[in-house]
Symmetry: C3
Subunit: 287 residues, 3 copies
């Protein structure tokens, strides 16, 4: 693997290989060979401080330097130049480029001409594969497996890039999927499988759910629907269930649930750091 563009680059086996690697990463600056001689760029055509901060910290904790370039469209990197020319320029300075771009397929175009590895950190309505990998890793880590799980996805299933990629990769496993959403925000047919359960109600599925994945209302994509789970609804989940959310949340999950041992959404943030450390190590150290 020379670039990370799409979650489709992984299969059942290579996902497990990655998870074993992530499992060996640790929080903080534990490297003995620190600092390392190398630099990554976070090249963000769309702002996403959250994702860029995660990659920044992952690189820093491994001992690499970071060149942060944000809001490229407003910057003079471009002055009308093509993505390809910008990638060649920045690739002259650094050893790897983490790319966020507004257009689907931008990462693939970048990879096709780049002399350094490209990691797709979100390309418009396309993919955001490291988010998908950290979601899946969190399930694997918390439940010790993925096969056999009963997974309930809830929220805006129509517009969420995150949830579409997660569903796509869950199809590699033998899981049962429940899809809970307002009727106007149902999962597009292309992602649907005949065995999925669709509903507008959460409660009927609470007691059998192993993993509840709640998504954010995509207000920036025009959704006006609001939905939120109450503490008493969440308490219908089994004691061994886990609750995930890609964050930031609005009111989908009450803060009173944050200290519940089933709440794993801040653990997802931490796992994101580990996943990105493992990926950077793989691409920069061939490891």
């Amino acid at each position: 693997m020379k670039h990370l563009i799409s979650i489709d680059q992984y299969n059942y086996q290579s996902l497990h290989t990655l998870f074993e690697k992530v499992d060996k990463e640790e929080y903080g600056f534990i490297e003995t060979s620190y600092p390392k001689k190398g630099q990554i760029a976070t090249l963000f055509y769309e702002p996403s401080t959250r994702t860029s901060a995660s990659f920044h910290s992952a690189a820093t904790q491994l001992g690499y330097s970071v060149l942060s370039i944000n809001e490229v469209n407003y910057s003079s990197v471009t002055k009308g130049e093509t993505l390809e020319d910008t990638i060649k320029t920045i690739g002259s300075y650094v050893d790897l480029i983490v790319l966020r771009h507004g257009e689907k397929g931008a990462s693939k175009r970048a990879a096709s001409i780049s002399q350094v590895p490209i990691i797709n950190a979100g390309d418009g309505i396309g993919e955001h594969p490291t988010q998908t990998l950290l979601d899946l890793y969190t399930i694997w880590k918390e439940k010790s497996k993925i096969d056999g799980l009963n997974i309930t996805l809830m929220g805006d299933l129509k517009n969420g890039r995150t949830v579409h990629s997660l569903i796509k990769i869950l199809r590699l496993f033998n899981v049962h999927i429940n899809l809970i959403s307002p009727s106007s925000l149902k999962l597009p047919n292309e992602y649907l499988k005949h065995s999925d359960q669709e509903s507008t109600q959460f409660l009927p599925y609470a007691a059998t759910t192993d993993v509840l994945y709640v998504t954010r209302v995509q207000k920036e994509r025009g959704s006006k629907e609001e939905y939120k789970l109450s503490l008493s609804e969440l308490n219908q989940l089994p004691k061994t269930a886990i609750v995930l959310h890609p964050l930031p949340r609005r009111k989908e999950l009450p803060i009173t649930f944050d200290n519940d041992p089933r709440a794993k959404y801040f653990q997802q943030i931490k796992n994101g750091l580990l996943v990105r450390k493992a990926l950077l190590r793989q691409f920069l150290e061939n490891n």
Copy 2:
């Protein structure tokens, strides 16, 4: 002390303990254990490049990495998320958060849920304790004491957060305070003490002043008054007096005074670096 939120966390004794520590810090990269394995974040909801640059350099000179997040409100860190969720997220990446926020009390809220130390770098009309500490340290360093000094505060005494915090902490010492301002910009009564001298004129107090602290007109808070000291007025100060200013200045102090040995406002900038190095060391190294 787990977080630095308010100048009220200090008393007469602990201020001197801090000053002795600051006194041992030096300019530049003198650490033998460089780099260190740790990272701070400067999380600035309001722009203040001056303050964030000072913390950045302090951390860097100690050997720590820095994650700079500026203008959070325009960034995607938030997407409507609460300060508390953002603090939990960024606190998953770094070992300490320097927080600048537009709302009074924001640092206290952040500290109440943060897993890493918070340093308040200004919370709206609240406090900016590291500015106050560097002001006070400069007086202590330059005059070898604070008790017994005749201190003249001049300028916009109504709107300046800086000057309010400084006056509050000067009350811990046995000092005489003169307050010079246009009549529309007088110190609010809550900060006034009966022994203070109030005036609209500087010259009557010049000859007895040990420390002259000049503040900036707060144009962004609606002040229209201008005031400035001429070189000949400043020359009425004793040869042993010192002149401070939190910078940036407008026309309050003439550049022709910059090379006068009494001008210590650029020394304040340098002392700010030392104070922040000592504070970061204390919070990150328990030292």
Copy 3:
């Protein structure tokens, strides 16, 4: 040399001394004494991510830390303060300042009061000396000499700061210069020499050209003319010619030419890194 303000600080001999030094720099993090204890600031009043990224990587690869301050005018560094006060403040934090400013002469003003070295990274319609040095170094490196070359400058010769500085320094050498531009974008008389060939046509000069330097249309300065070279036109150049462009390009050069061995414009980017490494080393290590 204490600061780098203008290309006029160089002569025939000192240029060659610099080129020999640049020639010893290498790509990537090859330093044995890594990291180094020092920090530079990139203080950019005008955005130029391309230039600031190049200096950032040069400093990082040498082992120095970087304090990036972009879009100073919108930032709170200034709050109306003078360039001189800002330079004194930032100079208290770092060991060298790379300055980009909108006003001609700003770097000279900064240098006149700065306690640390200033490198001019562009001052309005003034100079951008490191761009000129990397252009000239690329010619020297690729052709093994500068004297005796036939150099064709093509494009907007009226408005380009880059091309004016390059012509000025080429006058130190024994070169023949052809100037190709639309008639509305001719080189100003002050830069013209009687032996120069002026034309609106490229083709008559193609076969004798050793170095073709193509510039960008300066749309931000009001130029509406477009010009572009086709692959077949470029193929009229000798096999040993080289083609340069300061980038970003618009449509002046076709991407189909990028893999031609004569296309050296991405090599210029790489050489810019080497030139800046050599310059930073010189100013920071007296070397």
